[in-house]
Symmetry: C2
């Protein structure tokens, strides 16, 4: 027996198994609604495929709303409500009661900036902004920028050190920024535990949900999270650069002081008064006039996610990633030594990270075969298992192509 | 002779005149490229009509770029360059050399926030943020917010008082925010003179070009303006909530310190390093991942403006507004007593403001007749003469409908 199984013989039972699972799993049908063109999309943690009817939705907004009703469409076609109504859809996906999430129309970086300043202002006598060392780079840049504006000190820490900082020096921490999924390794953190640590220290907890929203159960209300932001273009499927969302729980609405005080956040925006008076509820977190076409695309993307529901989405994502590991195990078990993500699916978000030599070249070779993944320098491959449009057969094919590419590269 | 001419007899020569001018004026042809559906659009200072082929452009981006190339489309289809390439188109419309304008993908309010903080940071020892009392409300809110963050004092002043503040207390003024067109009255200011006053006082001049861009000559480089922002959805035609632009002249690139430091403004965004290092040139003013579909619509809207060029755009806008006044003068001269805008067309931007009783009701009655304008409480009607799609015959019709509505209301 060889240590490296022959992939050509081992694919047959896996192919059968993929077919069987695709036939049995009811979610697979939803893949038909996406414009995937036979490509395997395992980079939904970056930008998933569009729904096939998106262009029609955009054309309808342009020709049936904008063209005939012009600026009145903001009122008559519900455009003005979209930041909040999209927010309520997101609330259903993120375990929040309605009226606590808004899509103001800014980028994720800017929305985080707004949230962090608001968070730190809730603790004006404290001097530290704590952030996970493994945070997505833009979160680090924004934390630095906010700290400089407010005269705070940024402390970065990982894992136990992060917790220790809250336990030991918690009384100095104004706000702590964390993510429920590590964007590199896919490792899942425990929101409730970290939020509780923050509260025990009297610090405000702020979350970047970009790699969790739309795939992972995130019970914002139950976890007693203070503020949270996330992008619209990863698992949520809102398309390139889809605007970010901001979660601001009702208990903080009166108390919070947001720096991006644009006219859409005013209590009576069309009175055009001299002085800013924040709107009631979550509307106070709106800013300027939002980019409508991008809001429309995000809104349109959320419906199939809501139809399926987060528990089923997460469960399917886990099953897909487990099947991927099973395929690798049977075809090329040595590869799993490079697995950076936790082996326990309950400790993972929606993606797997695998260490291989020359990751970027592997990513390119897979793209040539119609399998889209992404890489992070120098040696990390990331495979995302977005539950709405990835099938078992695609997972099998991706695993086989990965083995073939690595084989060819030896 | 009656003081109120009979509109039914006076329309005939005006109708002839409108036909003659529409036949003679070459710009009229461009109106055919817009989805105007027979409606008269005199609110292009708010939201103009879409180009008829916009939905096709969006569908092409969705199906020919996003669907087949996914995240790679950011590189292969030029998406990543759009914030700067759209900026260069805007530079051509605003009298700026290339590489000085960027569309980062934020709302106008947020872009102004970013610009004002950067401006005030250039003068760290000064305590006043000066702003025109007639500024658009969101500018006032944002100025207040910035002043609170930086510990500055906001001073609002109009006309001579604004100038006096710069002359008398100029040494305290960190930054002065002004607009080349008053959003209510349409009165045109003199950018060069105000910018020179700012410079003489050592203050940084910041401009809100929202009501000027795409219709008025604005020679940013020649006027030695420091920073400027503007929205994409008025005369620029970028559609509902089109993202804002930021002008930052080359001479300030090294010196400026922008607070919205997102990863797209990093020198090497895809290296994902811990520390923010601003990109060379105007790219440093980018923020997070921009809302692509809204960028595509803005980009698409700019081409016909560039084809015509600002001098011809402004000249035609002036001729249209002059013809409107001529129509009113011949049909109902008493109305002109309510003209709030300067009578000299060279002292106006792209719109006229007229004081009438019960302005909102008049706006609604005109909308029912297919003439779209806007009103500002309590008694101001605004008529915008966007040069790309408004014809003389539409102007004549709008004037007649206005007279009819006011007649019926007596």
């Amino acid at each position: 027996m060889t240590t490296q199984p022959d992939t050509s013989t081992s694919t047959t039972p896996l192919w059968d198994e993929a077919q069987r699972r695709d036939t049995a799993a009811p979610l697979t049908a939803s893949a038909r609604g996406f414009a995937t063109d036979g490509t395997v999309h395992l980079n939904g943690n970056s930008l998933g495929p569009p729904r096939a009817d998106l262009a029609g939705e955009l054309a309808s907004v342009v020709h049936d709303q904008w063209a005939p009703r012009q600026v009145q469409a903001w009122f008559r076609d519900g455009w003005l409500d979209l930041p909040r109504s999209i927010g309520d859809k997101l609330a259903a996906l993120l375990g929040a009661a309605p009226g606590q999430i808004v899509v103001a129309g800014e980028t994720t970086s800017t929305t985080l900036f707004n949230a962090l300043i608001a968070a730190c202002r809730l603790r004006p006598d404290r001097s530290v902004l704590l952030i996970e060392a493994s945070a997505f780079p833009t979160d680090l840049y924004i934390a630095d920028s906010v700290a400089r504006l407010l005269g705070l000190r940024v402390v970065t820490a990982s894992g136990e050190d992060f917790d220790s900082c809250l336990r030991g020096n918690g009384r100095h921490v104004a706000a702590a920024l964390a993510a429920p999924v590590d964007f590199r390794t896919g490792e899942r953190g425990t929101i409730g535990r970290t939020a509780a640590l923050c509260h025990a220290a009297g610090a405000v907890s702020v979350w970047d949900l970009s790699h969790a929203a739309g795939v992972l159960p995130v019970d914002l209300d139950a976890a007693d999270v203070d503020l949270a932001v996330g992008c619209g273009y990863k698992y949520l499927g809102g398309g390139p650069g889809a605007p970010a969302f901001l979660y601001l729980p009702t208990r903080l609405h009166q108390e919070v002081d947001l720096p991006l005080a644009g006219w859409h956040g005013h209590a009576r925006p069309f009175d055009m008064t001299r002085t800013f008076e924040p709107a009631a509820g979550i509307d106070r977190a709106r800013t300027g006039t939002p980019p409508l076409l991008s809001l429309v695309a995000l809104n349109h993307a959320l419906d199939p996610l809501l139809d399926v529901g987060v528990p089923a989405l997460y469960s399917r994502s886990q099953q897909l990633s487990e099947f991927f590991l099973e395929c690798l195990e049977r075809s090329r078990p040595g590869l799993l030594e490079g697995l950076v993500s936790p082996r326990d699916p309950d400790r993972r978000g929606g993606h797997l990270a695998l260490r291989v030599p020359d990751a970027e070249r592997v990513e390119e070779a897979l793209a040539e075969r119609g399998v889209l993944i992404d890489s992070r320098p120098p040696d990390l491959l990331r495979f995302a298992f977005a539950p709405l449009y990835v099938t078992y057969e695609q997972v099998r094919r991706a695993a086989q192509d990965l083995c073939d590419v690595l084989e060819g590269g030896q």
